[in-house]
Structure formats: C-alpha cells, structure tokens
Amino acid sequence: MTTLNTSRRPRWVRSTLTGYAFLAPSLVLLGLFVFLPLGWAFVISLKQTNGFGDGAFVGLSNYGRLLTDPVFWRVTFNTALFTSIVVPVSMALGLGLAMLMNSVLPVRALFRTIIVLPMVISGVATALIGVLVYDQNNGIANKLLRVIGLGSIPWQSSGPGAFASVVLVTLWWRIGFNMIIYLAALQGVSPELYESARIEGANARQQLRYITWPMVGPSTFFLLIMNVIHSFQVFDVIFVLTQGGPGNSTSVLVTYAYTNGFLIRDQGYATAIGIFLLAITLVFTAIQWRVSRTRDLVE
C-alpha cells in the first residue's frame, strides 16, 4: 500500500507527527493535570506549611514524622484491618453468588440486576443510607436485632461497632463487582468438566476444589489486587458515615491525608501520606504485573 508522499519530509517524520497529533489532547490533559501535580507532590512533601504561603523546606522530616506519629500508625492499621476483612469476604460472597447465578434459576436476570445495582449508587448516598439503617437509636438494624432477641449494637458510639458498620456498608457496595468478574470466569468453564467429574464420582466439594477454584484462579488474583488497591483508597463511605470516628477508630489513610491537607492545612504532611499510599499501590501493582507475566509464560 502506498500513498503518494509529496511532502519533503521523510515518511517516519510524517507518521510520528500524525501519531503525536492524535495524542496531543491526552498528553496535554494528563501532562498538566496528572504528571505536573505528581511531580509537584514530591516537592510539596518536602515542605512544611501551616496553610499560609509556600512553606519551609524541611527535607525528609515529614516522612520522619510519619514514622513517629501514632495516629499515622493507627490509620495504617485501620486501613490494613479494613482491607483484610473486606477483600476476602467480598470475594468469597462474590464467588458464591456467581456460582449461584451461573446455575439454573428462575428470573435469573432479575437477581443479577439486584446484586449489581449497588455499584451505581454513589458512595455518599450509600453511606447516608448506612447512617439511616445503622442509627443506633432509631435505625432499622437495631430494631431488627432487638426483635430477634439479639439486642442493640452501638454502631456509632463504639469503635468496633462503627468499624463493623463501615465494613458492612462497603461489602454491600462491592459484592456486585466481584460477582461480575467471577461470573464471567465461570461462564468460560465448560460444563463437560463437571459432568465427567460427576461421572467419576466427585461430590460437590471436590468439584469446587478441583475444578471451579483452579479455573477462576486468574480472576481471583485480579480481584485480589483490584480490591486491595481499592480498599486502601477508601474515602467516600468513611468520610460520610463516621468521619473517621469515634476517636480515630475508623480513620483510614485517605481520611487522615484529607484532614491534614484541608482541615489542618499542613499540606506537606498530607502529601507525604499520599506518597506513602502511592508506594503501597505500586508494590501491589508490581506484584500483579509480575505474577501475571509468569502466568502468561507458563500458559
């Protein structure tokens, strides 16, 4: 295929110019609003401000402060705890529901719609419904608990109660995503595998362990990484549902960064927290990339 190259420039120059012309809007937008702030963030993290003016250059002392800040360790612990509960539970429930939705059911499409629907509700609305449901005085959760004889749970006034309410609300929100991914994987598993296993005498648990589980392996891994990264960045629900309280029992990394950056206005410190978060995200993403590459080589 040839086009008449009537310009005086060599072909590779023309195609390079064309290529970058198509990329120009992306490059401008991302360059100005992502890469520039990213670079600047590193600079800010080396300063200490009190909300006015540029702030003094303090080198790595913000990072040093992180290490000795008990609140920082508390919020990191909270974030890790939150992640370690929400991720496995939402994945297990997602897999269970996917297996269910993959089987023969009446009005299956309706069930699937209901399970996925929470994903389109905003974090703010989700959290406000949570405020309503888990209100420890008038909320329906405690009313239901009292009716079945279990008594009220202090969802607002106790640390563990507040933490539990955050976890439950997040689970409601995230189950649909896990189900979708697992369902797509399950639909790729040929039914003959299960048939022959059944003929060979395998029971349900064996089928689960030796067919289902390995076949959804890549999805499990993908979900693990996505869910972990997402959980480390949780903000909307906590900000609206508990504001990080009571005390700091539901504060997480991002709410702490927000508080420092926009309420206390020590922007250097807030950015240092953000960079810590970036480092964690990079670690997990690198792990995913590494493992998925070896997987591709093996397969």
């Binding site: 295929m1 086009t3 195609s15 064309t18 290529g19 970058y20 198509f22 809007p25 992306s26 937008l29 991302l30 100005l32 609003f33 992502v34 520039l36 702030p37 990213l38 600047w40 963030a41 800010i44 529901l97 269910l100 089987s103 023969v104 059911l105 009446p106 299956r108 069930f111 209901i114 399970i115 996925v116 629907l117 389109v120 509700i121 905003s122 974090g123 703010v124 609305a125 406000l128 949570g130 309503l132 209100d135 008038n138 329906i140 189950i175 349900a204 960045q233 903000f235 991002v254 960064a257 927000y258 950056g261 926009f262 922007q267 950015t271 953000g274 970036l278 995200t281 993403t285 998925s292």
Partner: protein
C-alpha cells in the same frame, strides 16, 4: 434443560440474598416517603403507614435542588465528552499509527490509571488555585477529564477492526484523520456506549475531588449537595433520603436500561 441439583435450596438462597441486597434501597424509598414522626418510633415497621411527599417539598424549598442537578448533568456531560473523545483519539493512534516511542508513551499514560487521587489532591488543588479556576466548573471538569480511562479498551477494540478496511481507505487516499472519523468511529459504537456510560456514572457519583474543588453552594454537584443537606438537616432522615433517592435515580434508570453495557464495562475496566 434440567433444573439441576438442590434447585429449591438455590432459589431460596437467591431470594434471600436479593432481599438483603435490595433492602437498603427499599428502605431509602420507604423513608423518603415517610413522615417525620414515623421515623422516631421505637417499634419496628417495614413499610410506611402514611405515604407523604412532604420531605420532597421540604428539600426543594430549602435547597437549590434543580441547580445542583443541572451542575451534575453539565459536568458529567462535558467530562464524558472530553474523556471519551480524547481516549478514542489516543486509542486509535496506539492501535493503527506507527510512530516513535509509541509503546513507551502508551505504558506511561496507562500507568496514570493506578495513581490514587489522594497522592495529587493537594498539589492539584494548588494547581487549580494557581490557574485561577478554583471554585468554578472547570476546576472539577479538567482534572476529572484528565484520565486515561478507556484508552486501553479503545486500543484493544480498534485493533479488532479488520486491517483490510483501513487499507482500502488509505489506498483511496484518505489521511489518518479521515480514516478515523469515517471508518473507525462508526464501527466503535459499542465501545463508545460502554465508555460513555461508565464515565457518566463515575463523574455523576464523584465525591472526593468536587469536595475539594468547589466552594460555592450554587455550584455543588449532587453528592456534595447531598452531604451539605445532611449537615444542615441532621437527623431529618426523610429529607436526606428524599434527596438521595432523587440523586441516584438517573443512574439507576440508565443502569436498568443499559445493563448489558455497564456489566461489560465493569468486567473489563482495569483488566490489562
């Protein structure tokens, strides 16, 4: 097709799960239409005794609800238009144009997708202040539109277009832009549908960045307005739920209408 084993059990579990998952939304609707007194009783009631629209009257009287709706719509539409177009252009470039450094640039741009907002929220705030757009629509629109979301999907999708069609157009003398506009784009309709819906959804529900970028009441988007309203109305749950219901309704309608596209989009977003 046979019903399979444990049919009854599975149906029961499916119904129970759906009831549990649907309950919060059901409750939101119930409370939105319940009068204040009903919410303060200590007895358990699962449906409203008195159906009322008073909550809606109250919120419309106290807050610029239509303005906030307008803000959300305007911002969502502009951001979606920008993001989808920009990423289609880029996806096409990476799929079909040969140029120096394309693989490196592709990876670098894609890597921005895993950057948490929180890392740059402070510096981004300083940037929009320096640019003088703090507190305006553009303070929300521009950083939100600066997203490589869809670039990967676009490239993948466009790679799937048979080369012969492209070649034929080039032989006829069409330049890259014409090929893009007249050949590639019309074939991208499913892709455009998915990207548009997902971007609309995430912009509509966006909370953290508008919270930082806006200051004036009249410019609030719905999530910010919702939080603001709750701050003002405190335990007036009826009012809060009425507004919450209104704010989620557009997305719920879109979802029910275009569920297939949403699910496809959710399933593929982030998959490398």
């Amino acid at each position: 097709m046979s019903r399979g084993r444990h049919y009854g059990l599975r149906v029961a579990v499916a119904i129970a799960s759906s009831l549990i998952l649907a309950f919060p939304l059901y409750w939101m609707i119930v409370v939105a239409f319940s009068p204040r007194q009903e919410l303060l009783t200590t007895e358990l009631r699962l449906w409203p005794q008195h159906f009322t629209l008073a909550n809606f009257d109250r919120i419309f009287a106290s807050f610029p609800i239509p303005t906030w709706f307008g803000n959300s719509v305007a911002i969502a539409v502009v951001v979606t238009g920008l993001t989808v177009s920009v990423n289609l252009l880029a996806g096409y470039a990476f799929a079909h144009l040969r140029f120096r450094g394309s693989s490196v640039v592709f990876l670098v741009l894609l890597s921005t997708l895993m950057l948490p907002l929180q890392v740059i929220m402070v510096s981004e705030f300083q940037l929009i202040t320096a640019l003088g757009i703090y507190g305006t629509y553009w303070a929300v629109i521009l950083p939100t539109a600066a997203s490589a979301f869809g670039m990967f999907l676009a490239r993948q999708f466009i790679l799937g277009i048979p080369r012969e069609i492209i070649e034929a157009a080039r032989v006829d003398g069409a330049g890259s832009l014409r090929v893009f506009l007249q050949i590639v784009l019309p074939l991208c309709k499913p892709l455009i549908a998915v990207l548009t819906l997902l971007t609309l959804l995430s912009t509509w529900n966006d909370f953290a960045w508008p919270l930082i970028a806006l200051k004036q009441n009249e410019l609030f988007t719905l999530p910010i307005g919702l939080l603001y309203l709750q701050g003002q109305f405190g335990s007036d749950y009826g009012a809060t739920m009425a507004f919450a219901l209104l704010s989620v309704l557009p997305m719920v309608v879109l979802f029910v209408a275009f569920q297939r596209y949403f699910v496809q989009g959710f399933a593929r977003s982030g998959i490398r």
